[in-house]
């Protein structure tokens, strides 16, 4: 795609789909295991399929399915969903300057279809310097493929969960973990982000005993706090440096 960037609607749509294929592959086992875990934990097939269709947020759905299994109240599950999905504010804010000329009939569905995966793919397209007027078709292509795949895989998992006993023993739920590892590592490009990752992980371990998955919220907030602190104050034993000096190659 270097040199001649796609310039027609169709080419942008197909290019967006193509760039999303690796992430779709990572989502396949994750979607199937969500469906299976959801029905195994007592959600009805309709509610599990409804979550994939209307919430469309993999990690939040997966955590919700686990919370349903522990008998957590709906209000706690919804609150956890809110906290887990807060990262989308960042994605939306990052994309906003690129999509601000689009009409609402584009913005609403594109917003609904915003995921970690589609964000990572689409922002790279928007940051390319060419003046293609159809970059939102690239976004649409990525979103449609992710969404269709997520529905299909959820349904397969829902059916499997009703017929196969204990689907988690195959370890397919681990696909989410390795996908997230593959997404975290490239994000860690400076000390504050490393601090956020390490503190969030450590606090998540310490706080995992808290009821109703509250540990996740505490850990996420601690991680964000650590990132901000590391950014404002240089580390102990470290010489304070001007911001420019931190950008080592």
């Amino acid at each position: 795609m270097t040199g001649s960037a796609p310039a027609t609607r169709r080419a942008e749509l197909l290019a967006g789909m193509k760039a999303t294929i690796p992430l779709v592959i990572g989502a396949i086992p994750f979607g199937m295991i969500f469906g299976a875990v959801a029905v195994t934990n007592g959600l009805s097939p309709a509610a599990a399929a409804g979550m994939s269709a209307f919430v469309y947020a993999g990690s939040a759905q997966f955590i919700a399915a686990n919370l349903v299994g522990t008998g957590a109240p709906a209000a706690i599950i919804i609150l956890t969903t809110l906290v887990v999905n807060m990262r989308h504010i960042l994605y939306a804010a990052t994309l906003a300057p690129h999509v601000k000329r689009l009409p609402q009939r584009w913005l609403a569905p594109l917003g609904f279809w915003l995921t970690d995966e589609t964000f990572v793919v689409v922002i790279q397209r928007y940051e390319q310097q060419d003046a293609s007027p159809y970059k939102h078709y690239y976004y649409l292509g990525s979103a449609l493929l992710m969404y269709a795949n997520w529905q299909l895989c959820s349904w397969i998992g829902i059916i499997a969960g009703q017929t196969i006993p204990d689907p988690t023993r195959w370890g397919l739920d681990f696909a989410m973990v390795v996908t997230f590892i593959g997404m975290i590592v490239p994000m860690v490009r400076n000390r504050p982000t490393l601090a956020a990752v390490l503190v969030a992980g450590a606090v998540a371990l310490l706080a995992h005993g808290l009821p109703n998955q509250l540990g996740l919220m505490v850990a996420a907030l601690a991680g964000v706090g650590a990132g901000m602190l590391a950014q404002i104050f240089p580390g102990a034993g470290e010489t304070p440096q001007p911001a420019k000096a931190e950008r080592a190659p």
């Binding site: 409804g50 947020a57 960042l90 906003a96 997230f180 991680g223």
Partner: protein
């Protein structure tokens, strides 16, 4: 539990995190500090999800041992992600090491016992 209300509530809060900011930020200005803090949300949330998955294989006790197949596979994934920055390769090699390592462990246990 009312499943309809659960799905509706989750759908509403999720959409509220995605759409309004995308529609409005072009027109309003958020303080820089908010953007800076938001930048740490994705890595922090993802790490808070991943670390317990690796270190608490049964969801209760920490297991820092080769018997913890998830930890071993997670470390392989970490190494692959760090060295290659290739997501697909990270997923494939991570899952293969999970299955390969647990197969190896069970083969060794059978041979030893």
């Amino acid at each position: 539990m009312n499943e309809f209300m659960l799905v509706l509530g989750m759908a509403v809060v999720t959409f509220a995190m995605r759409y309004p900011v995308m529609a409005l930020v072009g027109r309003i200005n958020l303080p820089d500090r908010v953007f800076q803090a938001l930048r740490y949300v994705p890595p922090a949330v993802l790490s808070a999800i991943v670390v317990p998955e690796l270190l608490l294989p049964d969801g209760e006790r920490m297991l820092l041992a080769p018997e913890n197949t998830r930890l071993v596979a997670g470390l392989v994934a970490l190494l692959v992600a760090w060295k290659t920055k290739n997501l697909l390769l990270t997923i494939v090699l991570g899952m293969l090491s999970l299955w390969g390592w647990s197969w190896l462990l069970s083969a060794l246990t059978t041979a030893g016992g």
